[in-house]
Symmetry: C2
Subunit: 300 residues, 2 copies
């Protein structure tokens, strides 16, 4: 009988969909994947059952990585995630280890993205690097000496809630001036709609497109946001002197014009000793499989 | 013949004085110490010779730790320190290893202070902690998983140059709004003198004393500085979720009223998930031996 291929199961739990897939341990490629709306699963146990049934037994499962909002590595649980149908504390690690009998690793989305970049993306040769995710919110993952920093309670890397403007824009966290209140896709949209009187909705992509075409309101929003993001990233370098910063997702990955402007603001705000030393790049993993690979990388 | 006691030589190189001492490896106490004005030594070699002669051979030397401005752990050199008589790159590690034949570890003052707090002070049970030094400048040392974070080039932990106020007060680094431009002793003095028209000099301690006595100018300066410091420390928690922050030196260690006010600003600016979880304390090592113990701790 032929030896079965060893695989890691990656699960990306989002507010709308759950994506899951099997990644070959040797070839580091997705061998199979699927996704379902999260509302189909009343509990995490129901999700585990459904995945077990769908993935079949063609491969030998050796580990599971789960990326989830408010996922805590130390406890293996989701803790009070505001955007999920499952409330309170959900002991994912326990549930999935009981079902599958293999080691399970849980972390939040941004940490999973950082691990993904380290295992599958551009950061493999950068033991000190920083991942910033720009999506509905702003998250971060910090690598020191080739290891993800989890902190004293598993809650490290919340740079989206670094307050970058004293008494600035209100943030969902209840405080003011957080980076997330400026640089998330949601914030980009809000800032544009505040200027555009007769408009009720727009996407972050549209704001970027309008800026590229010279729309003055979009220009004002984008230039302000890019200045604040570049300034913040330059500040973050003083923390652990990374050799690379990766921007993941959202509007920052809409082409070289955007990255070039962010890079300019970043370099001109850097402390002299760091200038010209830090690569600032878009993620290699952008696209639909990024979160899945990120989640799976926790199991590698 | 009795076995000699094993000791670590700690050397604290400052802009004015060099302090050096022998710390027992077992008892972790200073067994002998001395200091000299740095101008007495034309070169680092001359310093090494003088220390060798003074310390004699009563003990068995097993390691050397050196804290120095712009000291780089990876290269073991002082690199272009503006306030030292020795210019350019000074290969301390090489010079002292050649002279003494034991391993030599070099780092900057703030990293040395952080190591000192970990080895001799309050942070021994806090593998994730942050040290902020408030002196002529503001420095920092970051511990993750019980290890000092040095970064990709040995230049990690420059939180004194975290820009905390956009377009704020000018900083010696050439940029604006750095924490150092508000919270260093120098900045405290400058801010007071800007308000006090007829005064030419004052000490940071005097500013604190005047505040305690109700002087309105001192109150304005201190309240603003404490608000900015507390806000900044709350921000820093989002980096690596430390369980302890230690404030070392200068005005922050002038009693419980100051610490209480800093703690209040800190707690009220924290992201909710961190509230009540982070001890904010003054260093245990404050005083004349702190820098010496810090330097020596690099050798432990």
């Amino acid at each position: 009988m032929e030896k079965q291929k060893q695989v890691i199961l990656g699960i990306d739990i989002g507010g709308t969909n759950v994506a899951f897939g099997l990644i070959g341990k040797e070839e580091k490629k997705i061998l199979w994947k699927d996704s379902e709306p999260i509302v189909q699963f009343a509990t995490a146990e129901a999700l585990a059952d459904a995945i077990a049934q769908k993935m079949g037994c063609e491969f030998e499962l050796v580990g599971i990585g789960i990326g989830a909002p408010n996922g805590n590595f130390y406890t293996g649980s989701i803790e009070f995630a505001p955007n999920l149908p499952w409330k309170g504390i959900v002991p994912l690690k326990q549930i999935f280890e009981a079902k599958f009998g293999v080691p399970v690793f849980v972390s939040n989305d941004a940490n999973a993205a950082a691990c993904g970049e380290f295992v599958f993306g551009k950061a493999g040769n950068h033991p000190h690097f920083l991942m910033i995710t720009l999506g509905t919110g702003v998250g971060s993952g910090l690598f020191v000496d080739g290891k993800l920093v989890l902190g004293s309670d598993g809650m490290a890397g919340e740079l989206g809630h670094f307050m970058v403007v004293p008494n600035g824009r209100p943030c969902g966290c209840g405080r003011n001036g957080c980076l997330e209140a400026y640089a998330s896709s949601t914030a980009l949209i809000k800032q544009y709609l505040e200027k555009a009187d007769n408009m009720e909705s727009i996407t972050a992509k549209d704001v970027v497109d309008r800026w590229q075409k010279g729309d003055p309101m979009a220009t004002e929003v984008m230039e302000n946001t890019i200045e604040i993001l570049g300034w913040s990233l330059a500040n973050f370098v003083t923390i652990h002197s990374p050799s690379m910063i990766v921007l993941f997702g959202g509007w920052a990955q809409s082409g070289e014009k955007v990255m070039g402007k962010i890079r300019h603001s970043f370099e001109s705000n850097l402390l002299k000793i760091y200038r010209g030393k830090v690569e600032l790049v878009p993620s290699l993993l952008a696209g639909s499989d990024a979160a899945l690979l990120g989640a799976a990388s926790l199991g590698f």
